[in-house]
Subunit: 647 residues, 2 copies
Amino acid sequence: MPDGLLESIGSPADLKALAVDDLPKLAEDIRRRICDQCARTGGHLAPNLGVVDMTIAMHYVFDFAHDRLLFDVGHQCYAHKLITGRQHLFEKLKKRGGMAGFPDPRESKYDLFTVGHAGTSIPTAVGMARADTLLGQGDRHVVSLIGDASIVNGVAMEGLNNAGTLERQFLVVLNDNGMSIAKPQGAMAQYFDRMRVSPMYGQIKKRAHGVLKRVPGGDRIEDLYHRAGEMLKAAITTGHMFEQFGLLCVGPIDGHDIGTLIQILTEIRDFDRPILLHCKTVKGKGFEYAEGDATKFHSLGPFVVQDCRVETKSGGRSFTSAYADAMNDLMEKDDRIFTITAAMPDGTGVDKIMPKFPDRTLDTGICESHAMDMSAGMARSGLKPFFAVYSTFAQRALDQVFQEIALHALPVRVCMDRAGFVGGDGAVHHGFMDVSMFRVFPKAVLLAPSDEPTLRAGLEFMRRYDEGPSFIRYPRGNVSDTPFSQDVPPFELGKAVLVKPARGASGPDLAILAYGTQVYEAAAAIDELEVQGYDVSLYDARFAKPVDIELIERLIAAGTTILTVEDHTLIGGFGTCVLEACNERRLPTDSVYRMGMPEHWIYHDSRAGQLEQVGLDAAGIARHVRQILDKPTSMPPIRIDVTKARV
Amino acid sequence: MPDGLLESIGSPADLKALAVDDLPKLAEDIRRRICDQCARTGGHLAPNLGVVDMTIAMHYVFDFAHDRLLFDVGHQCYAHKLITGRQHLFEKLKKRGGMAGFPDPRESKYDLFTVGHAGTSIPTAVGMARADTLLGQGDRHVVSLIGDASIVNGVAMEGLNNAGTLERQFLVVLNDNGMSIAKPQGAMAQYFDRMRVSPMYGQIKKRAHGVLKRVPGGDRIEDLYHRAGEMLKAAITTGHMFEQFGLLCVGPIDGHDIGTLIQILTEIRDFDRPILLHCKTVKGKGFEYAEGDATKFHSLGPFVVQDCRVETKSGGRSFTSAYADAMNDLMEKDDRIFTITAAMPDGTGVDKIMPKFPDRTLDTGICESHAMDMSAGMARSGLKPFFAVYSTFAQRALDQVFQEIALHALPVRVCMDRAGFVGGDGAVHHGFMDVSMFRVFPKAVLLAPSDEPTLRAGLEFMRRYDEGPSFIRYPRGNVSDTPFSQDVPPFELGKAVLVKPARGASGPDLAILAYGTQVYEAAAAIDELEVQGYDVSLYDARFAKPVDIELIERLIAAGTTILTVEDHTLIGGFGTCVLEACNERRLPTDSVYRMGMPEHWIYHDSRAGQLEQVGLDAAGIARHVRQILDKPTSMPPIRIDVTKARV
């Protein structure tokens, strides 16, 4: 058990009451607490261990009840949360009712934005800085904490370019750990790699004068120079690449040296121009601690430590693994296939493809927009790019899909993992809108597998489909151990497949058209319903665009009630595709019902818990079917009133 | 009339046959041709005049039938098109059947991508470079031509960061004219501004050796150095900001000196590492030519020359102007309002707000993602941000709307000009998907004015609505001279307004629910229909989210056929909102019909021509209404077959 130093910290005020010399001990407590907790529940272990010292120093120097602290990506906020009165929530990290894995304004006033997508802390901070100044609150310091992998994301660089024009305090703390989620990618990562921690108190102060000339508002150089403290002058860097963005660049300094961090931050705090403080954190620093207590660390839970991430062993075969194996086979067969990931090689399974096809795989780093456009360029040159990306991150490349891909009907294949509810990562990571977002494009095809055999068949379909882009979605979680069939029929454009026929000769009471893995939830629901005497058939829809309108027409002609089921928002999802197609063909939709995600945010919980919350589990689907079928009539009463009234 | 040098150029081969000394004459011909044409039809005059010399030089040195030339934004492609066999199309610039204003692969093999949104040329070029090499076509040179305003767009910087890792030929030609669309914004613009054209053949060659060490694959430094030509060595720049992206930076050189451009490009052409050639083009260079022939220039057409853009006088009052005036009044009334534009001050009308409110307006430059996030930060701090942006460019900030705005229900106001068909700019600029894209977000409100009084009322509604983001859309074009009313009722959340009642006491044959300015097209259609004996009522829907479901329910209850009309894709548009709301309430939709943009791209034409093409003009709407009402029954025959068949 920790000795109680962390437990004594109820708020940042308690932290500020400690002597600087006590802070490393607090850091050690926090690290231990994070390791213990992550071992039990999983979590972003390494990123959080890396910023413990910087977080303590920032809270020591700033007052974030009033000042603004913006996290980037946000998966490094545990220390911050432990310091800001949320230790009691930590035991249920990422579970319903427990602590969110990302900053969350619902939890605390110390969290300004829920984030999980990279690069946004700088632009939002620019907005807050401008607004605070305008509203007479310019005394609120603004600090953005961002990693080296995030700062090269497009929106971060746009933000830096705009931050450089601010004429007020603005601090970007760059946490350069040289590792990011996977290995760093791109030229700038190599640049960071070359930078070494500055020799402090060296003979470099004379440079400061020259550098300050380049700070925006340079007509007040002399004034700025005299206001810069000795420590700051000593640490100013010349020729740092972000200097060209108009920021005064300081460091790199050691991001684990709390005493120096506090000294520098204190001098920087009130400097009235944008500053970038470059902190080097040692790769694996967090793990060193854990390794020093290796026995305890390894015995705490069902851990696998892989690169810098800690993944709980799920004990099953994930869609991600199934995807990797399927792609390996496809790439073996078709040497024009090229697989791309944007900083998610492990999350998307691309890491399992890379060793065999080093020349036909690429990790672009965190830059989904670039990766999508690069895919377009590859398709234009005749390759068959498969871009493996989380559904939620595909949102970042919508405009590239529009302009470079859809407008040219280029056959880029987008493979969206983490579609639907994602569990503990919560609202910021659900893949809830990929159908709605991509179905607007002419010639785009949207499909979803329900299990491993259909995943393979779907990918094979995509390999051959070259009339436009194709988008496949599959969830976080495992493929079914017992698929309906190991040998499924090939995907045929816009064709659904019957997986569970009606029992009675007169046809089913209701037909479920399920999109994606909801097929299996629906099948379980039907098992329950059959016992209760209902006769329900089940189709694996396979395609959201185009939908199987011939099937739907036959069902409607037969008077069969239809229920669409999907792990996607009801707004513009698969069910809506069905409604639109019916309307186009002038088919009545009185007997078409839709189930999907509701129109409100669903927060962190297990994926099963999230499906249950919104009734998309087997029990919820069965309940909904009974509600539909137990009505005296599926025709609404309003229908009967045909008197023409003046409206 | 030109003397025929341009007319003799049927393809780049003809260009290559000229002596270098003849090229300035050709450039003059091209400039004259561009000026003449733009005067007649309008067009992106200044951007095109600026790159004439560079375009000639590039075609002289490269063979773009085989090599890859990628334009960024693409509004600077006229000289390129004139050189590549399309002079005959130029007379109908941006008109149906004539030359597209942007690169267009449908016109020529020399155009690789249709573009109009900034920053994408580098990432697509990276994709083509990688693919060409992989496919054994590494001898295809890859060249991206990009302006100084575009290169700081996020996706361009992501692309540069990735380009820096290429170990093959890759050339970025930076057209630095220091002007972009409006004035350049951000710190990097200031940086570019400080750079001066390099003194060629100076004593700076010795630097080259050192710089080459920083090129990727630096283990072959000596080899690289010896392969660099004298001209290249002389022009290499040290400390250029893009050097940190891993590119060898050359220049700035004079982008109008064709001879030097050809010499440098020739030496650069086969250099097997990524190079950025920084060319300075003189601001207003094109206008100097025009000014030298000022009489002719001014007499050619209904021109207004404003900043660097040439806008044809439309002779009416645009939505843009109406927006600017309305915002001026709102900002007068409410000092928390802050208006933002992303490099489109004139296009959005923000330039007319800036003079009065310099502290509460901001042009961020071309970075819609940053601008959206900055707006979120401002809303978080208590301001009321209004982000004025073209609908098509709002696509670039979808993920920011998701994460920073919608997830926090922040009241950011997004004002989307150029919604619907945009006319001559064509498919790459239509605002065709803003409803579909933004309606997925909880608490988001989507609205549209039909004329100036409703625009004002809608903006006032947005000012007060603070439960989430709001999105208003209005088209390129004029407000109605004769609005239904000057004094319209305030916008009430989710309430439509009856603008044209049925004539008969028994109610209308059909009710049109029109979203946005389609109200006026529908009204004109009704005028025609009334003469023909049809009784059609008309509602201004005002809201796409939420739709006026009570009204729809009343109409359906009364047996009234409904037709939704919108200048937006039918996929997930206003009509779909109606279908979903009906389905949610179990209302039948047999008698709900929808009109909107079809599922294929509509290319350059006048806006009126585009509306006519897809039947969204008055005549088309009237035709559609007659088709609906003249049917023997609006109930599809299939409906009658209620026999349960096994499906």
